[in-house]
Subunit: 359 residues, 2 copies
């Protein structure tokens, strides 16, 4: 087992990564204050792992909430099911919520924990590659609004993150690729050597070679922890974690949440950010092509969905959370391994990239 | 004009108290980061003060959201109207929300600010006596759930609180009394001298004598600021601010939110807490009677609504946020001016108080 720490003063927390962690009660117990625990999961993950977690937590008064699977249900109505269950079972302020599932479950459970009785403890047990390397770490929680993804939410840190790499065995190949999108992102924004290593080992990573995938998760979480510790509430540098996400969110919103996987939209979105960076003369055409190839090799789309037009992107990106006082800000690359968040770019570069869509 | 500070490190904020503050843009401007401002108010307060505030803020891009009046609308559906308006007008993360109204507007606007794009700035402009002395200070925000009051919310501090005492001129007498309930509470829990002063000046306070009411607001906010600075997230001492509230919330839930005013329920609830404190032998019968008389003199009910029974209280109090691991905790008085939060009381004292209801 490997361990990392997200360093946030008195709200610091550990990330445990390894095989068989779901059975290790001693990793969870230090982070559970009372007798009540509520496991929130979905109807895909529940049949696979809920019973096992229930056995691990047999010392506690355990409530479980099984939600419908998918981004389409990441909304207030589903969140309300968690509150109803907690209140129905008289869970008090010392209850601990546990998110058992992918990013949608993690985001919703975290937001429920942030809001229930004005804040209770929660623990992340991410079961998809994407949530293990990204959404379970850093405290971004929330739900979608019809007008935009993650528009309603909170910065609210978990007490611990438990990454059991065995859970990846049941993950469909398409979701492995979606997770690799965020892993590649860390290389692109912050670590050229890691990007090189990913390039060299992509086949083994897609095959979920235990040693390779553990190393990739560890390095991804380490980079995320570093960035979050430097800027918890995204006042500055943290925004680089959103490389490809402004374009990606527009794709998700256009297609309807849940049609493209988040990681797939980020894959295509990162290619658009690479194109813009090259268009601005920041990235060589060779580096752009190389990065594009890595994304393709991970099994990810490298173009937006057919039928999506330049004006769709403009409209959907104008509500992005990185828009400040009306100005669109984007995460772009100055070179491979070095990202910047900026609104000071030549608008014609964006025009050119958007004009190229669908050609 | 008088000024106080709520001391919370880098989240400290000023409370301004005085006449005519609604027109003073210079009090608001230092707390507004961007160009966008969204004033949230209700259909009672909007006709009285919205236009004036709009003139004061004419330098900004101003959006206003007018909600239906009353505790019955303090729910997710109403909150959603704020999010819809903000997203419809493309308000970004640098927007500032302003709560113009009573406690319901303050709680909902604060919670909307806590959640919108994971947190934006907000300012409290409370226009009722109750919200001026209580809910606008301290960062408790939230909405009700059918199973309990304020069950969904956040601790989220405003950037500033602006108390324009002129707004009290339009307040119905019943709401003045409701505000006095919380003012009396501060005397009961923390300041025997202030309680004496309230006893001596109750007629003038009910008549809204400017000098008296300003002094009462100032002292109330000072006590609240002190308690909140010591314990922002109610891990300990802050709970004393809830004297009478556990009983009071049960009354409100039983009657349906909005039928009794919050302050009225707190008035009757405080009398029940006084009775229990006397029953436990902590409070002399003379002091109990004296405190009860002050509450009555403020024009507040001193008994629960007819028809409400002991088992109603038991059921409704069991979901109180102060319940921990199944144990009910209450705020009680050791003497006038000194409160304690405890679960270690003789249960038969509660039985006796509840048995006395309706007799």
């Amino acid at each position: 087992m490997q361990q990392l720490t997200v360093d946030l003063g008195d709200r610091s927390y550990p990330i445990h990564i390894g095989s068989g962690l779901l059975d290790q009660a001693e990793l969870l117990k230090p982070h559970i204050a009372g007798r009540q625990v509520c496991v929130v999961t979905d109807d895909t993950v529940a049949p696979l792992y809920l019973e096992r977690l229930r056995r691990t937590l047999s010392d506690y008064s355990l409530l479980s909430v099984v939600l419908p699977t998918g981004e389409a249900f990441k909304n207030w109505a589903t969140l309300q099911q968690i509150f109803d269950a907690l209140l129905g079972a008289r869970h008090d302020r010392r209850t601990t919520l546990i998110a058992l599932g992918g990013g949608v479950i993690g985001d919703m459970t975290g937001f429920a924990a942030a809001c229930y009785q004005r804040g209770v403890d929660f623990i992340q047990i991410p079961t998809t590659l994407l949530s293990q390397v990204d959404s379970s770490v850093g405290g971004k929680t929330g739900i979608n609004h019809p007008a935009g993804k993650n528009m309603i939410g909170a910065f609210y840190q978990p007490r611990a993150v438990l990454i059991d790499t065995d859970t990846l065995a049941t993950l469909p190949a398409r979701e492995v690729s979606a997770g690799l999108a965020e892993i590649i992102k860390y290389g692109l924004i912050r670590d050229r050597e890691f990007l090189q290593w990913l390039e060299d080992n992509m086949a083994g990573l897609r095959a979920l070679d235990p040693e390779l995938i553990t190393r990739a998760i560890h390095r991804s979480c380490a980079i995320k922890a570093e960035v979050v510790a430097a800027d918890e509430r995204e006042g500055g540098v943290r925004a680089i974690l959103n490389l490809g996400h402004t374009f990606g969110h527009a794709i998700e919103a256009h297609q309807g949440y849940g049609s493209w996987l988040h990681g797939e939209a980020v894959g295509a979105g990162m290619v658009m950010a690479l194109d813009m960076s090259a268009e601005l003369g920041w990235l060589t055409d060779q580096d752009r092509q190389r990065a594009r190839n890595i994304i393709a090799a991970a099994g990810l789309p490298i173009t937006p969905p057919p039928g999506m037009r330049a004006e769709d992107f403009r409209r959907l990106m104008s509500v992005d959370k990185k828009v400040l006082d009306g100005q669109l800000r984007l995460v772009l690359l100055q070179q491979l391994g070095q990202a910047v968040v900026t609104g000071a770019f030549d608008g014609s570069a964006l025009d050119t990239v958007l004009a190229g869509i669908g050609q």
